[in-house]
């Protein structure tokens, strides 16, 4: 009952005309940006931060939530229409979505993606409403040692679950922490790694790094791979309608994948990519017509779409309740919140219920917007994909520039943006994952602060991290998350 009252309170905020406009604007902009190959939710959110800067925090976060959902849906559209998944989370959608498009059923595939996303999102919001307040109550008992351990776990989980080299993931995370501690140490006033310039005293803004490492690096990568190269084959959209039999056929997969996706999303590091692949493979195994998966089976579109949207909502659980993001995308969201002066965590539910419940309510509204307004607009939005690549690349560059300059009014930051863009390109070329870097950048200084506070309380005794059971177990899980893949590799080698 309490949750229902709170939700009604949230709807009161989210249904304010201005906030509805923000949700719609966010979903719409997110769909467009997410649709552009290479630009996923992280880039979309980073590009939106300067816009939310002057907004009321609840409105800003409502807009961001809309962008997030829209970008995931937009990514699915390019997966289905072009076989060019904008983000890893929609790769599984292309397995059956693109074959459907080639058979002239792109509209149907897009409609299934939208319905599945809607149901997946809605089911997972109900779970979020139930789980988040419970977890918040537990998290109140967390001290600095537990927070430090939790952040270590968040980082190691993101590194270990990435499909790239474990060592390279760890290197990216360490570099991210190194960037985060540049500037004045707030506890002692000591200046670290500022190279004698006043510009670095406040550190490097995370937006500069996020836009550089993701959006600008993507532009450079496209240039290297021949930006104006061969355009992918485009297919007619076709009808968006589903028959009753088709609806019946996808209902089960959507329900199962939604629940699976939510719990995958809650786990740090797992996120929508793993959620969507798990959903897809689970349905492929269960389905009687599993052999037609990969050839245009509608269940092969429904399952990953429901799972990835549910996972997106699930990833809000650690962010809103613990203040610790579990993925690169939620790390950017956390950065946006901090810019707006809000520190998510267990106290947020009490201190800023307007933000907490406003966001949850706006997720419902965002999902409805996605379905009711975005779906009919898809044939028109898809025209964006016909935009010539050279024009697109130059405009993305301008968006990055104005994003950075509008935030800091510093031309030096534009040069930093270029530096991080080149660094992101290098990381991409040599197989370094970017998500651990951005997550570490956000968590680094908070992690150091938690570690130092814990040590101050314990009088410098390092055993404080293992004396407390929660912190000890979190650190053990973190160590296991790194060691298990190594053990697995060694065993595989021994066998072969």
């Amino acid at each position: 009952m309490e949750a229902l009252n709170n939700l009604m309170y949230g709807f009161g905020i989210a249904l304010q005309p201005m906030n509805i406009a923000y949700v719609f604007g966010g979903v719409f902009a997110g769909t467009i940006i997410g649709m552009l190959p290479g630009l996923g939710p992280i880039s979309a959110l980073a590009l939106m931060i300067p816009i939310t800067f002057a907004m009321e925090p609840s409105s800003g976060l409502i807009l961001m939530a809309g962008v997030y959902y829209g970008a995931i849906f937009g990514g699915s559209s390019s997966s289905i229409l072009l076989n060019a998944p904008g983000v890893a989370g929609t790769v599984a959608t292309s397995f059956d979505g693109y074959p459907m498009a080639k058979q002239g059923m792109a509209g149907k595939a897009l409609a299934i993606a939208a319905y599945a996303s809607f149901v997946g999102g809605t089911i997972s919001i109900v779970f979020l409403m139930m789980v988040a307040p419970m977890l918040s109550r537990v998290a109140v008992a967390f001290g600095p040692a537990e927070y430090f351990a939790l952040m270590v776990l968040g980082l190691t989980a993101v590194v270990s679950l990435s499909d790239k080299s474990l060592v390279k993931g760890l290197i990216a995370a360490v570099v991210g922490i190194m960037i985060s501690i540049i500037g004045i140490d707030l506890q002692t006033g000591t200046v670290r790694f500022a190279f004698g310039t006043t510009h670095l005293l406040d550190g490097i803004d995370f937006l500069v790094v996020a836009l550089g490492v993701f959006a600008l690096a993507e532009v450079f990568y496209m240039l290297l791979r021949g930006g104006g190269g061969k355009e992918p084959e485009r297919n007619a959209i076709g009808s968006l309608r589903l028959s009753r039999r088709e609806v019946k056929e996808i209902a089960g997969p959507i329900g199962r994948s939604s629940v699976l996706g939510f719990f995958t999303g809650v786990l740090p590091g797992a996120g929508s990519t793993i959620g969507s692949f798990l959903g897809y493979s689970m349905e492929k195994r269960i389905a009687k017509d599993g052999d037609t998966f990969g050839k245009g089976n509608i269940k092969g579109v429904a399952a990953p779409e429901a799972a990835n949207n549910a996972a997106c909502t699930g990833s809000f659980v650690p962010l809103l309740t613990l203040g610790v993001p579990g993925s690169g995308t939620t790390a950017v969201l956390l950065g946006a919140l901090l810019v707006m002066g809000i520190s998510p965590g267990p106290a947020m539910l009490v201190d800023r219920p307007d933000v907490f419940w406003g966001v949850i309510a706006s997720m419902y509204i965002g999902n409805i917007m996605l379905l009711v307004l975005n779906l009919p607009l898809i044939p028109y939005i898809a025209k964006i994909l016909e935009m010539p690549r050279p024009l697109l690349l130059s405009l993305i560059l301008i968006f990055c520039m104005i994003g950075v300059y509008g935030m800091s009014f510093s031309v030096i930051d534009l040069l930093f943006l270029l530096g991080f863009g080149l660094m992101g390109l290098g990381m991409r070329l040599f197989g370094f994952p970017a998500a651990p870097l951005i997550l570490a950048l956000i968590l680094g200084s908070i992690m150091e602060e938690s570690m130092r506070r814990a040590l101050q309380i314990s009088g410098g005794d390092w055993m404080v991290f293992v004396d407390k059971p929660i912190s000890m177990w979190l650190l053990i899980i973190a160590a296991l998350s790194l060691l298990l893949p190594l053990v697995k590799k060694v065993m595989q080698r021994a066998r072969s």
Binding site: P50, I51, F53, A54, K164, S165, V167, K168, I171, V174, V175, I177, M178, I181, D185, Q187, T188, T190, R192, F220, L223, L224, R225, G226, G227, G228, P388, P390, L391, L393, S394, L395, L397, I398, F399, M401, I402, Y405, G406, F409, V411, I412, L414, L415, L417, L418, G421, L422, L425, L429, F430, G431, E448, M451, R452, L455, Q456, S458, G459, G460
Partner: protein
């Protein structure tokens, strides 16, 4: 002598960076009052961790995804200024020029020139459409930022 592989070269660069980082970490000023943990400890831990990871990377065999793909022969046969790496270098130079000229000549002019110029350089030949799109997007962004969000952007040579 055996040639170093990609990971080994990267490891050496990272090791060199971590040594430099450690040198700076050891120069961090001590806080006058005794504390259980000072400002220099965390950077030192990070520096040594990175050095250790560089060593592990040196021993790791590179996978296919760790080695950058060679550009296609088609791309390599293009004029020097249009080759893939030249595009990255020229775009970087354009960004530097933009950063230096934005305040004196103004946001609208600098951004329009950058967007139009890069669009043209990347191979878009419908100049009218390019100019209209670049100017339209830049003006829309400028007006949104300055009139709605009340963010100041340099006007430069333009009167408003």
């Amino acid at each position: 002598m055996t040639r170093l592989n990609t990971n080994q070269i990267l490891a050496l660069v990272i090791a060199l960076f971590s040594v430099g980082y450690l040198v700076m970490a050891f120069q961090i000023r001590q806080f006058p009052l005794p504390r259980p943990i000072d400002s220099d400890l965390f950077p030192k831990v990070l520096g040594f961790t990175l050095l250790g990871l560089a060593l592990l990377l040196f021993l790791e065999k590179p996978k296919a995804q760790d080695i950058p793909e060679e550009p296609s022969p088609e791309a390599l046969n293009q004029p020097l200024l249009l080759r893939p790496w030249s595009r990255v270098v020229i775009t970087s130079l354009a960004i530097i020029a933009y950063a230096l000229l934005m305040v004196p000549i103004g946001f609208v002019v600098a951004s329009t020139v950058l967007a139009f110029g890069l669009g043209w350089y990347y191979g878009y030949r419908r100049h009218g459409v390019n100019l209209a799109t670049s100017l339209g997007v830049v003006l829309a962004l400028y007006l949104t930022m300055t009139r709605i969000m009340e963010v100041y952007l340099p006007t430069g040579i333009l009167p408003i």
